[in-house]
């Protein structure tokens, strides 16, 4: 009898090399499946078990996952764009034009980066509205809401710093206006503007600082907070699903005449 594809995968999972990488091994038992999650450096942030109700579309509309998806697209398109872009004035403008009109697939990558950036901002807001109106920000998830607000700020700062990089008139005046808004902070406002721009006006120093923030500091900081954000979902009792909340379960049990010991 010929082997099925699943059987080939099972054979692969039984090999010594595979077992040296993934310690959990084969088997469909609850323990093995839980270990497969728990022993993976990326997946161990998540719960080893979830209720199917938590994974249904209506619970989250998958807005957080979609946001992560746009973030991955932005990293995957942003890194190739960096290979043709010099963060210096006025070269940055010429490079942006080259990316748009000369580099093979440059226009595709640049537009994908731009549309994903817009989509990510939209999805972050949609995610926050969904969490807010479902009451999923409440205890015990209040700290994860705070992390979410920090991530919103990161998203907006990434958008803002990316805005300057084409070094065109729109970029120049948007950052002029934005940095003047920053200088409205009481007492230290002008200092913030000076440090942000690396000078008194939007010029070469400002372009370089925004480039470093956009390509290095902010993405790394965002990844750091995303990791905490996902880990907190597990720590705070999984994704919010009204029917699976301890409060709901207790209420249902007491209605049925069962005393729940918490």
């Amino acid at each position: 009898m010929a082997k099925t594809v699943d059987q080939y995968f099972d054979d692969l999972r039984g090999t010594r090399v595979w077992r040296s990488i993934f310690r959990s091994g084969t088997g469909a038992s609850t323990l093995k499946r839980a270990l497969a999650i728990q022993q993976n450096v990326f997946l161990h942030l998540f719960s080893t078990k979830v209720r199917t109700r938590m994974l249904s579309f209506s619970t989250t509309w998958y807005l957080g996952t979609l946001t992560l998806g746009t973030f991955f697209i932005l990293v995957a398109t942003g890194i190739p764009l960096m290979l043709y872009y010099h963060p210096s004035a006025p070269q940055a403008y010429a490079d942006t034009k080259d990316l748009q009109f000369v580099v093979s697939s440059g226009m595709f990558l640049r537009n994908l980066h731009r549309w994903s950036a817009h989509t990510m901002v939209f999805l972050v807001f949609a995610h926050m509205f969904k969490v807010f109106y479902r009451g999923a920000y409440r205890t015990p998830r209040e700290f994860n809401w705070v992390i979410g607000v920090i991530l919103l700020l990161m998203t907006l700062l990434l958008s803002y710093t990316g805005y300057l990089l084409p070094w065109d008139q729109l970029a120049y005046w948007a950052i002029t206006v934005g940095s003047n808004i920053a200088s409205a902070v009481p007492v230290i406002g002008n200092k913030i503007r000076f440090l942000m721009l690396g000078g008194n006006a939007v010029n070469a120093n400002a372009l370089l600082r925004f480039y470093v923030l956009h390509c290095m500091i902010l993405p790394l900081a965002a990844m750091f907070f995303v990791a905490i954000h996902f880990w907190r979902i597990r720590k705070d009792g999984g994704l919010y699903s009204h029917g699976s909340e301890p409060v709901t379960l207790r209420a249902n049990a007491s209605q049925a005449g069962v005393k729940v010991v918490q």
Partner: protein, 164 residues
């Protein structure tokens, strides 16, 4: 037990472990403060390669009587009025956009958020919190008008004009 009602002796001695813990934390604190100061100083540029605040606006003959001339590169107006020459900043006091002179309306207008100013810098309407500042203007030995963008002078004062 005669000592039972006496207040317990306050422990004011520090043992070796506590001493070294405090020493270690103190050193870390000093190092952190030093790093913060270092980072702040590093982020603040000591030399700026920015254009000089003093602009040569050329010969006064370039500006006909009752004219308002914008120099987009330096962001100043040179205005030749009945009282003499004076200079205004063209940078909007709202959020820093470059304003433009509208000869058909006789006003200065900002394209970003709609602030409007009179020819002497006074605000007519819009979100701008302050009038456009007057800048120090004078003649150099070659007879050229110089404007110092870093120095504000009082509006409409005798000394704020240059007469040729």
């Amino acid at each position: 037990m005669p000592d039972e009602n006496k207040p317990a002796k306050v422990e004011d001695t520090v043992n070796r472990r506590q001493f070294f813990t405090k020493l270690g934390l103190g050193s870390l604190g000093i190092a952190a403060a030093g790093t913060a100061a270092f980072a702040y100083q590093f982020l603040e540029p000591n030399v700026l390669y920015e254009p000089s605040p003093v602009v040569n606006a050329g010969s006064p003959d370039r500006y006909p009587p009752d004219s308002v001339t914008l120099d987009v590169n330096s962001g100043i107006y040179v205005i030749h009025s009945q009282e003499g020459y004076f200079s205004l900043s063209a940078v909007c006091t709202h959020l820093g956009c470059l304003t433009a002179w509208k000869p058909e309306l006789g006003i200065i207008a900002c394209p970003c958020h709609g602030s409007k100013f009179k020819q002497n810098g006074e605000k007519i309407e819009g979100p701008a919190p302050k009038p456009l500042p007057w800048k120090r203007i004078w003649l150099n030995n070659d007879g050229d008008l110089l404007v110092d963008r870093s120095t504000d002078v009082p509006a409409l004062q005798r000394d704020s004009f240059v007469r040729v």
